[in-house]
Subunit: 385 residues, 2 copies
Amino acid sequence: MINFNLYNPTNLCFGKDAHEQLATLIPSGSKVLMTYGGGSIKSNGTYNKVIAALSNFEVVEFGGIEPNPDFDTLSRALDIIKTQNITFLLAVGGGSVIDGTKFLASAALYDGDDAWDILDKGIRTEVGMPFGTVLTLPATGSEMNSGAVISRRAIGQKRGMGGPGLFPLFSICDPTVVESIPTRQLANGLVDAFTHVMEQYMTYPTPATLQDRISEGILSTLMEIAPSLLENPKDYDLAANFMWSCTMALNGLIQKGVPTDWSIHAVGHELTAAYNIDHARTLAIVLPSMYRYKFSQKQEKLAQYGRRVLGLSGTDFDVAHEAIDRTEAFFQSLGIATKLSEYSVDITGIEQRAADQLKNYGWTALGEHKDITPSDVEKILEMAL
Amino acid sequence: MINFNLYNPTNLCFGKDAHEQLATLIPSGSKVLMTYGGGSIKSNGTYNKVIAALSNFEVVEFGGIEPNPDFDTLSRALDIIKTQNITFLLAVGGGSVIDGTKFLASAALYDGDDAWDILDKGIRTEVGMPFGTVLTLPATGSEMNSGAVISRRAIGQKRGMGGPGLFPLFSICDPTVVESIPTRQLANGLVDAFTHVMEQYMTYPTPATLQDRISEGILSTLMEIAPSLLENPKDYDLAANFMWSCTMALNGLIQKGVPTDWSIHAVGHELTAAYNIDHARTLAIVLPSMYRYKFSQKQEKLAQYGRRVLGLSGTDFDVAHEAIDRTEAFFQSLGIATKLSEYSVDITGIEQRAADQLKNYGWTALGEHKDITPSDVEKILEMAL
């Protein structure tokens, strides 16, 4: 087992009406900037609940944070924080609003001239402005981790940031929000969380027995609840297991002590950038081809997954192949197309674009062995046509 | 799923040579009271490693904290904290040393006249003196939770305490300490951790799908590693999975959102108090009889456990019975006797003693349904003769 430090001080407040705790969770006397995205929090009732719970605080609002939150949008919020002496941030939304708010938490206390440097120079955030979240869209785990991804469309860049100062002080996770999420986004959330686990689990075998079991538990849960959840998102228990699985998939726990892959995400990001395909759908496209392409390296773990999560039996070779097929079929059963051809895109030039992007990130190759080159990426995507 | 708050700010530093982080983990300028138990930390090398890592701190030592740490012993340490202006506590040991140090962390900042009130009146510790731990004996999970149990032999009492101020700031968990633990204590640790999971899992079925899967993952891991660990405690990966499983069994995660039982512990505490049987061994005695006695209430979950963890098949009734037998056989395979008669004790009068003790705790009955009375306790122990 690889040495690790597990540190996660976020107070996760999970359950029906958890937002009622807001009034006591936010430090008294705070001047709050409430951040959100489009109008969905107003139509699904979350906005009113939050505003009611904040009645004892002075609250300034900043809406309009877009999916893949943009530096320029966030810079306008940063001006408000500084000019209006905001002392606490409250993100009400999904991963994009939370990620954007993490950037604000860092930038608000950053003493350099240009807050973009935090992303461009990879400056770790040791201390940020305190912030909490009210989660409205389970998927990314951002409500219980210390990382964020920020885009800057004006210069065509997307960068990650993080540090111990970016854990939310608290996160309100009320599963009843799930009932108003469109089916398409629920399916995306299921695939996103599922792939988060796979990126931390489907590597070469290691002696981290317990971590494997916990990852398999999240995968089993997602597969078990998925069909029923899409049919009946108003079922509280299904919604709760979905929301909790999404958090556990990327709150840091299952990555401790093990190697991680993340090549599927890296290639998927390319597809989103080039063809504007939903993030989760790019994962569903890339995952099967990635595992088929890297089959010999992943065969043993694929067989373990096939036996423990999918209940398959047979030789390692057969179980591993079947496991990939079953996983692809699982994505398709959620209404998600897993072939690039179904998205009407043309992958001409993808090798060069992948090479450019890797260079952009400062990487030479992808995967837990760092052996997936831009040329491999092209071959993997050809398999996904 | 029951509403829950998950909050655990302990920085768990896990792995070989993790103690090298000590110098940076303890706030600079701290005056440290290093607490420990008997001499094992001196014979196994931990003492020297810790002292070397603390070279930049002023350190006062307090050894001799006994198993089931005693209020009178700890009161002497409390005097030292107050007279020598200690600002940080470092517990080096197993669950007893860590629990005792949690009491000190609370009592050091308690402004009442008598620190026993913290236990006797159940005063929750919101803020304690900061402390860290160096774990030398995996079993209790105290290194990553905020609870403690303190005895006061002079008046024949044993009390629990807790609160958010009692999470360790950090815990150093180096699996290499496992190699010097006697086999008897390793077996005890395995049973202790296993039963911790069972108390939070083996209740009536609930819709907490993911929590069940995580609990099953810890149980599977402990069963998988146990025989090899006892044969070869120097195997680092076995030791690491053991240590990590013990922490995960009682760091709060798997109890979130589910009902919990804890009747096995309550009855076991009686056996320790009356006959001085090792805590873990009392659990191995009580668990099989408890589940046989409460069979109809637990049949469905026992069957789930039997199928998922033990790989059994058949009717719920048959699988559930077989699951209890296999669990008892597992304890026996570790060299732990599961019958009271093997410990040469006489249970005459146990019903009255159990009744007295329940009253002492302020409880009327035990179990997740609060339906196990002192009369039931006597019958359960008769089944374990």
